[in-house]
């Protein structure tokens, strides 16, 4: 264990009250008023802050994902393509870029992103896919109608 502070190295062995409180006060050093000076108030606030910090570790990631999505949506709008078509087209063209890389490209290298959008659009056109559904391969194309529907119902006279 590395102790950068000599005082900690000397007195950190026992559960001494002063040093235990000092640890809390160190965490509350940037607070103002009684929140940094009175231990009973400090400890409540520090605990709450630590809980927030724990939760924020997840929220930060989610926030970044939201920001990337917003940027990609904005860039997609400039090139007249929807984000889901872009994603689908790039996946089909075997260009495996995640949202972070895509948004970085959209932000810093707009011409690269323009090309990616064009690739995705062209790939979707080749595949004959419009909005997630592949029009060249409609669902249920291999099914025979007789297998699905009752023969009697088919032969039944309709009005």
């Amino acid at each position: 264990m590395v102790f950068l502070t000599i005082a900690n190295w000397v007195r950190s062995r026992g559960p001494d009250e002063f040093w235990r409180k000092r640890r809390m006060f160190r965490l509350a050093a940037h607070y103002i008023g009684r929140r940094r000076n009175c231990y009973s108030v400090t400890v409540r606030n520090v605990h709450r802050a630590l809980v927030y910090a724990t939760k924020a570790r997840k929220l930060k990631k989610q926030d970044m994902i939201d920001l990337w999505s917003t940027r990609i949506t904005a860039a997609c709008e400039q090139h007249n393509i929807t984000p889901c078509t872009l994603k689908q087209g790039l996946d089909r063209a075997n260009i495996m870029l995640d949202r972070k890389s895509l948004s970085d490209l959209a932000c810093w290298e707009p011409r690269t992103f323009e090309c990616l959008a064009a690739v995705a659009k062209q790939k979707m056109e080749y595949d004959g896919a419009i909005d997630y559904t592949d029009k060249k391969y409609p669902t249920g194309v291999n099914l025979k109608l007789q297998d699905v529907m009752l023969e009697a119902w088919l032969k039944e006279k309709k009005q």
Binding site: L67, A75, Q78, A106, E109, P110, F113
Partner: protein, 178 residues
């Protein structure tokens, strides 16, 4: 294209001025579109902390269209802060009072409530008619696409055009038009 030019972007942080014609538009639907330009959500450089929003000029706000009977049913709430100070103003009353207010409130409500919202709203300019001050109009470089088609009324079609339109049938001679 050379390697240096590939990433070159001109006027990325410039404020663009957009114009939006509110004629026959649903204010609550177009608020979402206007919001996007005001906050800069249409730019790939968007970040909530950077000031990349544009200016939007709304014209013809007097001629907005509300859905169904919302003119009579939608009420705008205001409270003066004193006891008994609550008022409910119907949409048509508010529109008669100030033709820019409905679109303004719609855009304000479309945005998330934070400290930036009131500053962002400063960049929204609304004019009830088609007359826009010259110093505003000279900055405008882009038009925002309307969300709905503006319908043409029969009395606005020239008579020659409506006469020349193919007819399905003639009214019987003894038919009385109301």
């Amino acid at each position: 294209m050379s390697a240096a030019k590939r990433v070159q972007q001109w006027a990325t942080f410039a404020r663009t001025w957009h114009i939006f014609d509110c004629k026959w538009q649903d204010p609550y639907e177009s608020a979402n579109v206007i919001k996007k330009y005001l906050m800069g959500l249409h730019k790939p450089i968007y970040h909530p902390m950077n000031d990349c929003g544009d200016v939007v000029v709304c014209i013809n706000s007097r001629e907005i269209a509300l859905r169904g009977d919302e003119w009579r049913k939608r009420a705008y709430f205001h409270h003066t802060g004193y006891p008994g100070g609550a008022t409910w103003t119907l949409a048509w009353e508010l529109h008669n009072k100030d033709p820019t207010m409905i679109i303004k409130k719609a855009v304000y409500r479309a945005m998330k409530g934070n400290l930036q919202r009131r500053h962002t709203m400063e960049r929204l300019l609304i004019y009830p008619g088609e007359t826009v001050p010259e110093d505003v109009l000279q900055n405008v470089t882009n038009q925002i696409r309307q969300t709905r088609l503006v319908p043409t009324r029969l009395d606005q079609i020239p008579e020659e055009v409506s006469k020349a339109y193919p007819k399905v049938m003639d009214y019987p001679e003894d038919y009385i038009l109301k």
